[in-house]
């Protein structure tokens, strides 16, 4: 202690602390909000990954404790576990966690667009407990969407604790959502695409980096704890003859129809059950559980819970096409019951299950009629998964990447794309509103939809621009020459091409006034304003013209390759009349 009080040691300490302070200060300057947010995304991924690991353990533990490792038909547990769990879940949801009903995708999207990215932390806790109980006891729901909401809720809570700016707070929930989903499905690319397609609802380059970072870090965490084994043992998948695409087109059409039945069933039954007296809501999850348990008891325990191990067996030809078809139909019924009863849980896994079984069934039937088809059962099951994903969840891009990421096989990309496209088109034409949008609207919310945005035609500058005028002046022109040309024209305002770059305008009145003032031998460039006019390109959205048309009488539209070449003109009237004509159309 005495040494520390000597002048030398004090000076050394001062020097050391000043170095540390300088380093710290540099570090602080390094972390602007953008960089901080990126690093924060990694931590969100880590925390979401850890939460999802715990969530999966909770589901597995509940399943093992209450249903046993492999549920067997005719066991009383199949009836008791989901129905009693349903009653408990109903009490928890109604009294403690009213925001956790449903899958969690809509709620996360609503948080992004309506609540400034805010999701109460209580939601994560409630979702964790209730979804684990529901899925673990055999309700026909999956763990992916709840994981998405848990991740989003964790991220939102963190953002609020750190009092991030409103803009970042809005973005942080999707970052957490991507982390949660990626961890649950062990597929970071699909998770990122799904969050962009279904949660954010529009392509946004600003958030992409954070979403990818969080998704990847969460997957690393989950693989570290639970291993990197894929969800399924991927069978040999083959696609040899292009003519066989017809078989996959049939699968796409059947899958599209099944998706419509599934979506319409939920869309029809959910409002009916919601409209029932409040006391019935205490019984709905329990009754749904009892019915699902009864299906399992009768000999179809495969439809209970997420059912990944049964998808795996279907992939390896364990079931006949009749059983596969029955399982697909019963899973639609079971998932509809679970979901509309308000039991918290996801649609992701049931959708894959139905698609897998349907794919296997369609493949089996096709093989009966066309024994020379080379596609294995596993190929049809995999393609079927993507088909229902595209048709029901209406996330076509995610559906393709999901199958590729899960199978690790690019050989089947063509059948996947073809079948998914047909499923999407069939579903889109018979059920115009996608399931998540339908559910949101049933809850009285209107949220942006990438699907609708995709089909919306955007007005561009070229749609409203007027053709280039006959008289275009140059800044090197003399006033008298310009006035002569102006006299021969009916234009009131003339665009002027400036000497090196840029554009300006001059009115007929000003030209005449300059002539009267005896400035005919001056050039236009020496007299008119040197403040260049703003200009536009033909491909820009028309809304970009709105910034200028109130301040300048006309806005030049120039060629991107040569800004001195005039393609047309935009005026306030031309913009508004274009919008009006679209409105009336």
């Amino acid at each position: 202690m005495s040494d520390l009080s000597t002048p030398n040691s004090t000076a050394q300490l001062d020097t050391g602390s000043s170095i540390a302070a300088r380093a710290f200060s540099k570090l602080e300057r390094f972390f602007g909000e953008e960089r901080f947010f990126l690093v924060l995304s990694v931590f969100i991924g880590i925390y979401a990954g850890l939460a999802v690991v715990c969530f999966r353990l909770a589901i597995d533990w509940t399943h093992l404790a209450l249903l046993g490792p492999v549920p067997r038909a005719h066991s009383w547990r199949l009836l008791a576990a989901p129905s009693i769990a349903g009653l408990v879940i109903a009490v928890l949801v109604i009294h403690y966690f009213p925001t956790i009903r449903g899958s969690g995708v809509n709620q996360t999207k609503a948080a992004l667009y309506i609540f400034n990215g805010y999701i109460p932390f209580r939601t994560a806790i409630g979702k964790f407990i209730c979804a684990a109980l529901a899925i673990g006891t055999g309700h026909s729901l999956g763990p992916e969407d709840p994981s998405l909401q848990i991740g989003a809720s964790l991220a939102s809570a963190l953002g609020h604790q750190l009092q991030l700016s409103r803009q970042k707070l809005r973005l942080i929930a999707p970052v957490g959502a991507a982390a949660g989903l990626a961890a649950a499905f062990n597929a970071p690319i699909s998770a990122v695409l799904f969050v962009i397609e279904e949660v954010i609802g529009r392509w946004s380059a600003g958030i992409l980096g954070s979403v990818v970072l969080s998704a990847v870090s969460s997957v690393v965490i989950v693989r570290g704890f639970l291993g990197s084994e894929p969800l399924f043992r991927i069978p040999v998948t083959t696609f040899k003859r292009p003519a066989e695409l017809i078989a996959y087109i049939v699968l796409g059409i059947v899958g599209g129809l099944a998706a419509v039945v599934f979506a319409k069933g939920i869309g029809w039954l959910r409002p009916i059950l919601k409209a029932l007296p409040r006391w019935t809501q205490y019984l709905q999850p329990g009754l749904a559980g009892l019915l699902i348990g009864f299906i399992g008891y009768l000999g179809f325990p495969q439809v209970m819970s997420a059912g990944y191990n049964f998808m795996d067996q279907a992939m390896h030809g364990q079931y006949s096409w009749r059983l596969l078809a029955a399982l697909a139909a019963l899973k639609i019924l079971a998932t509809t019951l679970s979901f509309v009863s308000g039991t918290p849980g996801g649609m992701f896994a049931p959708t894959l299950f139905i698609g897998a079984m349907l794919g296997g069934a369609v493949g089996g039937i096709e093989h009966i009629f066309f024994p020379h088809l080379t596609g294995s059962t596993g190929t049809y099951v995999l393609v079927g998964m993507g088909v229902l994903f595209a048709g029901f969840l209406r996330a076509p891009l995610t559906s393709v990447f999901m199958v590729l990421e899960v199978s690790g096989n690019y050989e089947i990309i063509v059948p996947v794309i073809v079948a998914n496209t047909f499923a999407y088109v069939v579903s889109r034409s018979l059920q115009p509103t996608a399931i998540f949008d339908l559910l949101t609207r049933q809850d009285g919310l209107i949220l942006p939809s990438l699907e609708e945005e995709r089909e919306e035609s955007i007005l561009r500058v070229e749609d409203a621009m007027l053709p280039p005028p006959a008289v275009i002046l140059n800044s090197a022109d003399y006033i008298d020459a310009a006035a002569q040309r102006a006299q021969a024209s009916s234009q009131a305002i003339f665009p002027v091409r400036m000497q090196t770059t840029g554009w300006s305008t001059i009115s007929r009145d000003l030209l005449e006034r300059l002539m009267k003032e005896g400035k005919g031998e001056h050039t236009l460039g020496s007299l008119i304003s040197h403040h260049p006019l703003p200009f536009l390109y033909p491909d820009l959205p028309l809304e970009s013209a709105l910034r200028y048309v109130n301040h300048v009488p006309l806005v030049p539209v120039v060629n991107r390759a040569d800004s001195r070449r005039l393609e047309g003109l935009i005026t306030r009237d031309s913009v508004f009349s274009r919008y009006q004509s679209r409105q009336s159309a």
């Binding site: 602080e28 972390f31 901080f36 490792p69 492999v70 364990q318």
Partner: protein, 401 residues
Amino acid sequence: MGPSFRVFSGNIALRHMSILSNQLIPRSAPAVLLYLALGAVAAFAAVDHLVSRFHANVQSRGRRLYAQGVADLNGGNLEAAVEDFRAALTCDPANPQYQLSLGRALRDTGHLDEAESYLLALWQRTPEDGTINLALGRVAARRGSVDDAIRYYHNAMYGIWSSDPDGSRRKARLELIDFLLQKDSLAQAQSEILALAALLPPDPTLHFEAAQLFSRAQDYADALYQYEQVLRLDRANIAAMAAAGDTAYHLGHYRTAQRYLQEAARLNPQDSHSRQLLPQANLILDSDPFVRRISDAERNRRIVAAFRGAGQRLTACAQSKGLNLSASPDMDPVLSGLEARWSDMKKQLPRLHSSIEADLPDTIMDLVFQIEQQTASDCGSPQGMDQALLLISRDREAADQ
């Protein structure tokens, strides 16, 4: 209330804090990230502990289920074993032992696709493992896929075995041979048996097994050699003695057959097969005029006896068909032709003792063999002397070819 931070101008500054003193509060982005990192480390440790406990618990349950599956398997209840192994694997999905057992049980219950997928997943991790290759070989064998079976069985033979490598490799080869024999791939089977026999230790049981496989592959010469190997190692091996006699008899080595059959019948009076075969071998040896080290007189005696026997057989065969060959030769021109030739030849019999007619013994025996073959074809398998003559004729033909 916990600490709260606000991001602005590139810094995260403290806004409100009620529990900790200002000295301890992080005021900047690096400090916040440090806190997050520390929190992550703590959460990581907690989750790690949780996962370890969970896995230990579940693995213990998996071991119980696996033991139940093994018991079911030993009790012959394959379907229950599949369910148990599947349940065990649910508890411990990465356990290779469970995967292997499930793969085998699935194969034995006929679920070949799923069995193969489990086994292939294991194979991709350890392609040199003999046990996995053997299991895959058995799947291929059940499918009837000769190429795949050969590939996997060969992998098993040259793969790594944790215990008794020589015995395991031999077992794998024996299974492959058995499969090839079932598929009638005799040439491939013979080459595998040759490879097997070349590596056999001096164990009479193993040589006996190899000899039996050679017999099944219709390679009687090598089979006889293996039986003789057995007898060299175990002179009192009655089964090998009888089998050697039988094999030598099939090879036409009647003298050798006689020796082994005599010994087999002596050692095991209950061996009816050897006792039945021995008189036949004796008869052949006593009837064959072409055996060496007999006198001309004895050879001529055998030829005459064979000729008379053939004539009687011809007459009996014609009578059994209701034919009178002399009266109506057109009824069966072949038998009538033989009868005519036999009658002509009968006239030449006295010249058999003449040294001028050197080709006559062969000519007579050719006719005898033709009569025996034709009557065997028309009137069924002969017995006694005729059977002996028929076998001699076949051996002669084989020797000529």
